[in-house]
């Protein structure tokens, strides 16, 4: 950018109270913004001056004066339609082009899962680590965010990056950005979500590339056991290894983790953490201990003993799970103890990124 251009950009940005431009998208959006703003101002002032000049020139000199009958020619009307239309369509076209750019992530993005929840943001790097409220990303590297929500609709907004996207329960949405300046930037929730909507804030921490690599390597120290919940189905049948690992894999394949969390938080179903041998109150009011028998029964006949506070939404897995598979799941559940939960990596729902051309 030439010096003059930088000056123009800074002038406009400060005049319009726009925040710093800290992503590649920010420049695109701001330049279209300036274009629209300048055309609007010039044309409105022109129309305004015209009206004012009419006002002074044609002030009423007598009450109930006669006036000429003035009509518009077709040529005039056509101009009046065509000129705004051309500008509007140019803006729409540029806007659409930028929007396509913004909604089509490049290859080799760094993927980060974002889960919104009243009233916090949860970020997970697929290979760890996780964090609440703070999202750490590298500068000058494209980052893709895969957003979903656990309860109501939220919206992820970073003014300095000019990015925003709704996080919708029950589906994933994606956006990408490339931060250009290391620093710390505010995250806001922009979709009204209840009492503390305005407190649902966080920070993006942009680190220079090398620093980020060091940071993430340090974070991953101690994460010995990687959980790959997005396990593919291809080798599920002839799995070799211990039952618990098999169960872990099955839980991803069979979709258990869509409803049962591995982080101790109740989701659509009860969490699996500490579930084994837990004293559980049922809808019917009776209390049972969740032993192997109960766990297996709940997979096959989910509605006979529903845990209090949950809906009857779980499908039956009768016929879908072979006996050894059910056993593997039970074994997996048995390994999930909260005292061993420290430093576990991503526990997000299964999400297979769509193949991009």
């Amino acid at each position: 950018m030439s010096e003059w251009f930088t000056f123009f950009n800074e002038l406009m940005r400060k005049m319009l109270f726009l925040p710093e431009q800290a992503s590649t998208l920010a420049y695109r959006i701001d330049f279209l913004h300036y274009f629209v703003f300048i055309v609007t101002m010039v044309s409105s002032i022109a129309v305004g001056l015209l009206a004012v000049s009419f006002f002074f020139k044609y002030r009423a000199k007598e009450k109930l004066a006669s006036t000429p009958i003035v009509n518009a020619s077709h040529r005039f009307e056509a101009t009046v339609i065509a000129v705004p239309l051309v500008f509007f369509f140019i803006w729409a076209a540029i806007g659409f082009r930028d929007y396509m750019w913004y909604t089509t992530p490049p290859r080799n993005t760094l993927d980060i899962y974002v889960t919104a929840k009243k009233w916090m943001w949860h970020f997970s790097h697929p290979d760890g680590p996780n964090s609440n409220a703070n999202l750490t990303v590298p500068a000058n590297r494209p980052v893709r965010l895969l957003l979903t929500s656990r309860d109501v609709i939220h919206s992820f907004f970073v003014p300095e990056f000019r990015i925003k996207q709704d996080a919708i329960p029950g589906r994933y949405t994606e956006i990408w950005f490339e931060a250009t300046k290391p620093g710390r930037y505010r995250i806001y929730c922009t979709e009204y979500c209840g009492t503390w909507h305005s407190n649902m804030v966080g920070e993006v921490i942009v680190l220079p590339g090398q620093e980020f690599d060091n940071w993430i390597a340090k974070q991953r120290l101690g994460l010995s056991d990687r959980v790959d919940v997005s396990a593919s189905t291809d080798n599920g049948g002839d799995f070799r290894g211990d039952l618990a690992s098999y169960g872990r894999r099955l839980a991803g394949v069979q979709g258990c983790l869509k409803c049962h969390s591995l982080d101790g938080q109740p989701h659509i179903g009860p969490t699996w953490v500490d579930l084994y041998k837990r004293k559980t109150v049922l809808v019917s009011g009776e209390t049972i201990i969740a032993d192997e028998g109960y766990l297996t029964e709940s997979m096959m006949d989910p509605y006979t003993k529903v845990v209090k506070g949950f809906q009857q939404v779980m499908p039956s897995f009768r016929g879908k799970l072979a006996a050894p598979e059910a056993a593997a799941l039970v074994e997996f559940i048995k390994t999930l103890r909260s005292d061993s939960l420290e430093n576990t990596p991503s526990k997000e729902a299964v999400y297979g990124p769509v193949e991009r051309r």
Binding site: L16, F17, P19, L25, I29, L32, V36, T40, V47, G48, A51, F54, Y58, R59, A60, E62, L64, A65, S66, T67, P68, I69, V70, N71, A72, E77, V80, I81, F88, F89, A92, G95, F96, D98, Y99, M100, D151, I153, F157, P159, E160, I163, K164, D166, I168, P169, G170, R171, Y188, C189, T190, Y192, G194, T195, H197, S198, N199, I268, Q311, V313
Partner: protein, 547 residues
């Protein structure tokens, strides 16, 4: 002919008029007279406006400091929800059609009444019941879902939203009845000689509005009921945990609520068309273009709803299509603006409060409209969506423009409705205060949105403090302006000078009858022999100009 004799010619005030022709409470409660119904709407919507305005003031005062100022987070959330619900459903949608549509439409067409007077009366009571339910919802703890009632938040909130949704549903019926009535009235009750192309532009605008009311309102009705039923019985229609789709709610909601913006603004555009001709004593420049552009907005407005959902996960292609369609609304509005300004050319422009409101309207509609084009530009919306920029944008249109229309209508037709004149000096002072105060309130909000302050925020970062204080200060000016208007109008009701049947020297049929009009509007059947807005003296040589 009997009634003619009671016109006191020297005073120009019809002593036995529609307001006192029948006496007693029942003659008002069961009235079928469109003019009395208009007055009932006047009172009800003004009470609603007062409630909504007070809520707005409370919100602005809360924002004087970044933290908690006068209320807690939950109270704040209820305040902005109710501000939206009251202003939109109880004030803006019924105001201009209910008051001025009812009062002026039959008069302008030269009809004795609207086509279905009993439905008209019913619409007032339906409105009152719906509004009552909304007030009950407020009193019984309030609603905190935002006026948009987005699922699934609205399904999970513990607040008592069912009465509020039922209220919205019922008010919707009132709106349908009004719209249906006006469409049929325009089709069947035009005076002899009142061809379509001779109809005043306010009638055209009301007609276009009525089409939207009839076609869009049932959809919000069923949507509101679905949310209500789901909140109470758990039907799961929009609830993702039961297999429902929350985005479907947004589609159904905006299918109504986007055209609803035009229900609010089109009648005001009609009023301004009348007012701009009145203050400049000119024929409307491009009459047909203005008339057709109202219908154009109606048609296109039905297909633009998706621009509220650019970031809700709808496909990028959809977003692009909705953006293009939204641009067309901008073009129709631009046509109107150019033609209004053109109408002033070679006119004889009077300086009065009406002119202030016309200019205010033009200003608000240009900037509200252009910022609308800007937020409909897909990529720009990414930054502005759900920030204060959007808040400022729709307040420019829905408050700035609509309110200028309402105020212009009040000031233009007040002498017709009540037969008396208000104080012109005070009216100009108030108009100036309102236009200034409005700008001072909402221009800072555009900048807040640029700076990235999200809407519906109870707490905000300190970097947004200064602009929020500016906005609150502006709202105080606005408030003072409204108080002045209320005072001089109420004073004028009893003590204003007699206006005479045609104080502005206008040509519409409503000015050909007495002020206030008699019970059956006209004495004899009026006929129309010339185009509207023909301000030339009879027999005078008329200069024709084509640009």
């Amino acid at each position: 002919m009997a009634q003619l004799s009671v016109v006191n010619e020297s005073e120009g005030y019809l002593k036995v008029n529609y307001m006192n022709a029948d006496r007693g409470i029942m003659s008002w409660v069961l009235t079928l007279d469109h003019k009395r119904i208009a007055l009932m709407y006047f009172v009800l919507t003004m009470v609603s406006f007062f409630i909504g305005g007070m809520l707005a003031e409370a919100i602005r005062i809360e924002h004087l400091t970044p933290g908690e100022t006068i209320m807690g987070a939950n109270t704040y959330n209820r305040m902005f929800t109710l501000h939206g619900v009251v202003m939109i459903f109880m004030f803006m949608i019924p105001a201009v059609p209910g008051i001025f549509g009812n009062f002026c439409l039959p008069l302008m067409l030269g009809a004795k009444d609207v086509a279905f007077p009993r439905l008209n009366l019913l619409s007032v009571y339906v409105y009152a019941v719906g509004a009552g339910l909304l007030v009950y919802a407020m009193a019984s703890g309030g609603v905190d879902a935002g006026w948009t009632f987005y699922a699934p938040y609205s399904l999970s909130t513990p607040a008592t939203i069912f009465p509020a949704l039922l209220g919205v549903f019922i008010i919707g019926f009132s709106s349908i009845l009004t719209g249906l009535n006006f469409i049929v009235t325009v089709h069947t009750l035009r005076a002899p000689g009142m061809t379509w192309m001779r109809m005043p532009l306010f009638v055209w605008a009301t007609y276009a509005t009525s089409i939207i009311q009839v076609l869009a309102t049932p959809v919000i009705g069923i949507t509101a009921m679905l949310v209500g039923i789901e909140h109470v019985f758990g039907f799961g229609f929009f609830d993702p945990t039961r297999g429902g789709d929350p985005v479907l709610f947004q589609h159904m909601f905006w299918f109504y609520s986007h055209p609803a913006v035009y229900i609010m603004v089109l009648p005001s555009m009609g009023v301004i068309s009348e007012a701009v001709a009145a203050v400049s004593r000119k024929n409307i420049f491009g009459y047909k273009m203005i008339a057709y552009s109202s219908l154009g907005i109606t048609f296109v407005g039905f297909f633009a709803w998706g621009h509220h959902m650019f970031l809700s996960g709808q496909s990028a292609l959809d977003s692009g299509a909705f953006a293009i369609i939204s641009m067309l609304v901008g073009v129709f509005t631009a046509i109107k603006v150019f033609n209004w300004v053109g109408t002033m050319y070679r006119g004889s422009i009077a300086v009065n409060a009406l002119l202030f409101y016309v200019c205010g309207f033009l200003f608000f509609v240009v900037f509200g409209g252009m910022t609308g084009i800007a937020v409909a530009t897909v990529s720009l919306d990414v930054h502005w969506h759900d920030t204060y920029f959007v808040v400022a944008h729709f307040h420019f249109i829905m408050v700035g423009a609509v309110l200028m229309g309402v105020l212009a209508a009040i000031h233009m037709w007040f002498p017709k409705m009540f037969g008396r004149m208000y104080h012109e000096g005070w009216a100009m002072v108030a108009a100036a205060l309102i236009v200034l105060g409005f700008n001072a309130t909402f221009i800072p909000q555009f900048l807040l949105g640029n700076a990235g302050m999200p809407r519906r925020y109870f707490l905000y970062d300190e970097k947004y403090w200064m602009l929020n204080v500016a906005s609150t200060a502006g709202s105080t000016l606005l408030f003072i302006g409204f108080v002045i208007v209320a005072i001089y109008l109420i004073y004028a009701l009893k003590h204003g000078p007699i206006a005479g049947s045609n104080p502005w020297g206008l040509t519409g049929l409503e000015w050909q009858t007495t002020s206030p009009p008699p019970k059956h509007n006209f004495i004899g059947q009026p006929t129309v022999e010339e185009d509207p807005y023909t301000y030339q003296k009879k027999g005078e040589k008329v200069e024709h100009v084509v640009i």
